[in-house]
Structure formats: structure tokens, C-alpha cells
Amino acid sequence: MTVPEGAAGAATATEDAAPLLSLRGINKSFGAVHVLQDVDFDAYAGQVTALVGDNGAGKSTLIKGIAGSQPFDSGEYVFDGKQVAVTNPKHANELGIEVVYQDLALCDNLDIVENLFLGREVTKNGILDEANMERRAQETLAGLSVRTVKSIRQVVASLSGGQRQTVAIARAVIWNSKLVVLDEPTAALGVAQTEQVLRLVRQLADNGLAVVLISHNLNDVFQVADRISVLYLGRMAAQMKTKDVKSNQVVEVITTGRSDAIGGITNGNGELK
């Protein structure tokens, strides 16, 4: 089974659709440090949008703002066509935004079902409805085409890195979320497991979710992403379609903030501003 090329298939179908998440003129400062300056960012339903940039470019600050854990100072936050003010993580969850952080935040001593429903257990008359949760967990994993897990009642400690990532992602989508942000999901994984997780990332987008993928690995990005957004020193250096660019051009933007082939700061469609 192969992972589809970045901009193939689903991307063309939603070519002109409005973005699910649209940020305009975002600013964020920590004291005197202006971490994000006038950042624009779009993420589309059914597409994987890669967010790349060197260390300190502002990627983490951007997703923490999206997730509401560190709200932006100023700027427009439009989600699903409506202007919203996301000021805490709970609000983001209610909108259908889920973030899978790098450390996954799983409880090793609990099994897969227990982790998927942690903090949001399904109860009937105050008693845990295990059968219901187990069934929904099975459905969710099946919907993600996960077939590497032997039993969904095994403890998470017994899972491989890729499987743990899968559980964390499944937890993000089990509540019908619309936008999933994945922070370096393949950073600690081997070749086969990376492949497995990327396949899952693609599956999420093909299921209609908007996926924001943060990655340092351009191979991964070119393998699954429909769009690439490059942050450079707190500014959005470029938002491009994967099919329009080459890897070395992206590297150039990441390291210098501009590329002769692409140009400098561009708008959402990869055109020069």
C-alpha cells in the first residue's frame, strides 16, 4: 500500500472551497519578544497542511494559539466561516479542534479504550458503559484503517511508538473533530512506523478532516501534505501547494525566508503579494 502523493486526489476536489481555519494578521508577543508578526494561515478540510520552519520560527506558538492554550494577542481567527475568539483549550475542543502534542499524553497503565475515552467516559446511570466505549473505539480505529493493534484491551505500555501515536490520533478524532493538529508525529519513529503514521495522517484528511502537520522532515511533508506553510522568524514566509514546489525550494524558504523560484512572502495561493 502506498501513500498518495501530496497534492493528489482529494485536494483537487476542494480546490476552491473556503478554508476551515483562517487566521489573518496574527500577532503574539512574550514580553519584548515579538514571536508572531502579522501571520496569515489557512487550513482546508480534506487536506493536510504542513507547517514547517526552523527552530524558533514560531510553529509551537502558532499551534498553541490555535488550540487556545496561549491565545493570540491580536488578529482574526475564523473557524468554519465564523469569527471566533478561542481563549482556552476547552473552547477549541468545543469547536472541534484537537491537538496531538509530541509527548502524546497517554496513560501507560490504562488500555486503549480507557485512554481513548479518558476524561470523557461514557456512562449509563453513573456506571461506565464499557461495551459502548469498546464498540465506538473499534469503529474509530476501523475508520482510520488501523489494523496493527492486536487487542484494544491491551495496556498502552505494550504498544509500539507508532501504535501509541495512532491511539493519540484516534483520541483526537473520536469526538467528531474537524481540525486536528499533529505536532511532530513521526519524530521518534522508525521507518516502518513513520510510514504507518503518515498513512493514518492521510486517512484523516481523506475522511474529510482538516489536518495541520508540524514536521521537520520534508520527506514526510512531501509524502502526505497538500499544502506547505513556511514560518520564518515569526512571519509566514510562504503558503504553497505541494505540487507547485520542489523540496530544495522549501528548504531555501525555511532557511532564508525567501526563494528565487517562489518569491518572497506570498499569499495563500502561492502567488506573490
Binding site: 498518495p4 490504562l110 476524561g119 453513573g126 461506565l128 461495551a131 493493534v149 495496556v155 505494550s158
Partner: protein
């Protein structure tokens, strides 16, 4: 990308394919778990069997007779209840060093209310439980809200409550308990017929629950335990509890014409109610799930929206309230409260009981039944060594050794668990 096919996410439906020997398969699975570092109650069970064999061989008449069996239960009851409370705290990866003196202090409050003030026993019981809950509330607030390590907070409470206990008891030295109901709790027996009713209730209730759960899971298309395995478990329970009930129903008084001593001790019913109720709380409710989650990974629990501080507070309150129940049993057994009630080794025996039973000191792993199994291991050692006329010095050394063995089993199983990916 190929079209998603029907996904096999559940265990390989061993039971559904109808293997030739489901019992063998179940035993095989269980053994694989034990080898993988999930020993569960096995060490405690083996310990009980080994100790019973040793003491029965050395003191065939006194150790195994019905009188001593009932005595053993009375001796173990308080430590078991305190250990049940400690399971909640240990599950969080915390410790409560003050549980012993919480028991003593709460019992002293009960003694003051019922003996000195002459109020009725229900009021005294409630006062005792509230004392425990308040102590737990204070400890929990300091640990959960202020962030002081539980070791330090409960060490302070251990010292402080010792003083409170002395203060309550005053110069007299002891508070006598003369109320018949309070004395009955850890001294008297149920009528023989009631013991058998209790037996029937437990076995029937257990069978109904496991059979119904199996049927429900089968109907939902989920994996389920083979019916043979379920029946084997029920049969084992019937035999074990049946023997125990029969043994306790024998006349064990030396002089039956003066006082008759037979029937299941009342305290057994109390222990069973606590076992069932607390196990339900830990395994069937969201709260219980959150306790395990906080013990496993507090940060993950917090990010999942669980109020970690509240869970900790609740666990410390439960632990101290159960310690108060243990205090009632100590006072009932001794007919009085003295400055040493709940002191000496009470707390260490309780921690030992939980750990010997299989509760991990590192948090996230443990069950209420651990407290019962571990409590009996310790009670059998104390009881058996007493019958062998061993001095306290030897009893302490042997108990310490057993605790060390249990902690080693915990540490080793954790290591195995890490290498085989089980927790």
C-alpha cells in the same frame, strides 16, 4: 491506498472459534501475563498457602482449628480496612503515613462521645467517620492544593495525631468501650443461618454479575470469557467460601454449655460490603478510572480534562475515612482505646498488606482485594508466630522480611513489565 477492509481490532476471538480446551487457553493466557510481569495476586495467594501449610504442620491442633480461624479474621480486620484505604492513596503514587493514628484518633473521638458523653452508638460512629474525613480533607488540601509531598504532610500528621490521641484520652490512660453494639462489630458472630445466607448472596451475586456480563458482551459482538472459565471461577468461589463458612459454623467454644461460639464473624460482612462497594467505585465509575489515570500519568490526566487536585483530595479523604473504620474495629476488638491504638506497627502492617497483595508503590496499579489477601498474609504470620511462642523480636523480623519480599516482587515485576511492555 487500498479500500479500508473490515478491521480486526479485537483479540483473536479465541473463544468464538471454539478451541478444544478453553480452560487450558485461559490458564495459558494468565500464565503469560504472570511471566510478563503482571503477577497480580499470585504472590499473596502463594504466600497464604505456604504459611498455612507451615503453621499447620508445626501447630496442627491450635493453628487450624475453627477458634483460631475466627480469631485470625478478627485480628486481620482492622489492618485490612486501613489497607483498603491506603490502596486509593498508593494508586496515586502517594503515601499516607498517618493512617494508623488517624484510626486511633477517630476511635478516641468515638470513645469520648459514647463513653464519656454517654451518647448513643450511631452518633459516636458518625463522629468517628467525620473525624477521619476531616483529617483526610486537611491532608488532601495540603497535598493537592499546596503541593507539599504527601510523605511530609502525612509524617507531620502522624506526629500531630499522636498528640491529639493522647490529648483526647487524657491522664486516665484508656477509654473503655462498653456499648454492646460497638463491641459486637469485631467480637461477635452472626447466627449460623445468616452466615449461610451471606454465603448464598455472595456466590449468587457473583455468578449473576459475571454471567450477565458475559451474555451482554457476547450480544454486543465483543470478546468474552469462555463460559467454562466463568463456571470454573464460580465453582472455585463456592468451594472456598463454602469451606470457610462451614468451618466458622462449627461450635468453637471450649465450653459450649456456658457460651456458644459459632457462626461467621459480623466483621466479615463489613469487610465484604467494603470490598464490593470500593471495587465498584474503582472499576465501574469515572472517578475510579480517573484515580488510575492520575496514578499512571498525572499530566496526561490533567490534559484530558480531569481535575487532578480533586481526585487526589477525594482519595486522601477516602483513605482517612476508611482508617477511621479501621479504628472502630481496633477499639471494638480491644474493648478500649489507649494511646497505642493505631500506633506501633498498625500503619506499617497496612502498607505491607496492600503491597503484599499486589498494589504497586509506584502508583497506577492495585485493587481493593489486594488489601484482603495481603492483610491475611500478615495476620497469619502474627497469629502463627504467636502460636509458636515466638518472641516479638522474631515476629517483627519475619514480617519485615515478608514485606521486603513483596516489595521485591513489585520491583521485579515492574522491570519485567517494562521489558515486555506491560504495566
Amino acid at each position: 491506498m487500498t479500500a479500508p477492509t473490515k478491521v480486526e481490532t479485537t483479540e483473536e476471538h479465541i473463544e468464538e472459534t471454539g478451541p478444544s480446551n478453553p480452560l487450558g487457553a485461559a490458564v495459558g493466557n494468565w500464565w503469560a501475563r504472570v511471566r510478563g510481569g503482571d503477577a497480580g495476586s499470585l504472590p499473596a495467594l502463594l504466600g497464604i498457602i505456604a504459611l498455612v501449610i507451615v503453621f499447620a504442620a508445626l501447630r496442627p491442633n491450635t493453628f487450624t482449628n475453627a477458634f483460631n480461624f475466627a480469631n485470625l479474621i478478627h485480628q486481620a480486620a482492622a489492618v485490612i480496612v486501613i489497607a483498603m484505604g491506603l490502596v486509593f492513596v498508593l494508586l496515586l503514587g502517594e503515601i499516607d503515613l498517618s493512617a494508623g493514628y488517624t484510626a486511633g484518633t477517630a476511635a478516641a473521638v468515638m470513645g469520648v462521645v459514647v463513653t464519656r458523653w454517654g451518647w448513643s452508638w450511631p452518633v459516636a460512629l458518625i463522629a468517628c467517620l467525620i473525624t477521619g474525613a476531616v483529617v483526610g480533607l486537611l491532608i488532601g488540601l495540603l497535598v493537592a492544593k499546596l503541593g507539599i509531598p504527601s510523605f511530609v504532610v502525612t509524617l507531620a500528621a502522624f506526629l500531630g495525631l499522636q498528640g491529639v490521641l493522647l490529648q483526647l484520652i487524657g491522664e486516665g490512660g484508656t477509654i473503655a468501650i462498653r456499648d454492646d453494639t460497638l463491641l459486637a462489630i469485631n467480637n461477635n458472630d452472626m447466627p449460623v443461618w445468616l452466615g449461610w445466607v451471606l454465603f448464598a448472596l455472595i456466590v449468587g451475586g457473583y455468578a449473576a454479575i459475571v454471567l450477565r456480563r458475559g451474555a451482554k458482551r457476547r450480544a454486543s459482538g465483543l470478546t468474552y470469557e469462555a463460559i467454562q472459565v466463568t463456571l470454573a471461577k464460580i465453582a472455585a468461589l463456592v468451594v472456598l467460601l463454602g469451606l470457610a463458612t462451614y468451618w466458622l459454623s462449627i461450635e468453637r467454644s471450649r465450653n459450649p454449655t456456658i457460651t456458644s461460639l459459632k457462626g461467621v464473624p459480623i466483621v466479615v460482612a463489613v469487610l465484604l460490603v467494603l470490598l464490593v462497594g470500593l471495587t465498584f467505585l474503582l472499576t465501574k465509575t469515572s472517578f475510579g478510572r480517573h484515580v488510575y489515570a492520575v496514578g499512571g500519568n498525572a499530566e496526561a490526566a490533567r490534559r484530558a480534562g480531569i481535575n487532578v487536585g480533586l481526585v487526589k483530595l477525594a482519595c486522601f479523604m477516602i483513605a482517612s475515612t476508611l482508617a477511621a473504620v479501621g479504628g472502630i474495629m481496633l477499639a471494638s476488638r480491644d474493648n478500649s482505646i489507649s494511646p497505642s491504638t493505631g500506633g506501633a506497627s498498625t500503619l506499617l502492617y497496612a502498607v505491607g498488606a496492600a503491597v503484599i497483595g499486589g498494589t504497586s508503590l509506584f502508583g497506577g496499579k492495585g485493587r481493593i482485594v489486594d488489601a484482603i489477601l495481603g492483610g491475611f498474609v500478615i495476620a497469619i504470620i502474627i497469629n502463627g508466630m504467636g502460636l509458636l511462642n515466638q518472641p516479638s523480636s522474631v515476629v517483627y523480623m519475619v514480617t519485615g522480611l515478608v514485606l521486603l519480599v513483596a516489595a521485591s516482587v513489585d520491583a521485579i515485576s515492574r522491570r519485567r513489565a517494562r521489558s515486555t511492555g506491560r504495566v
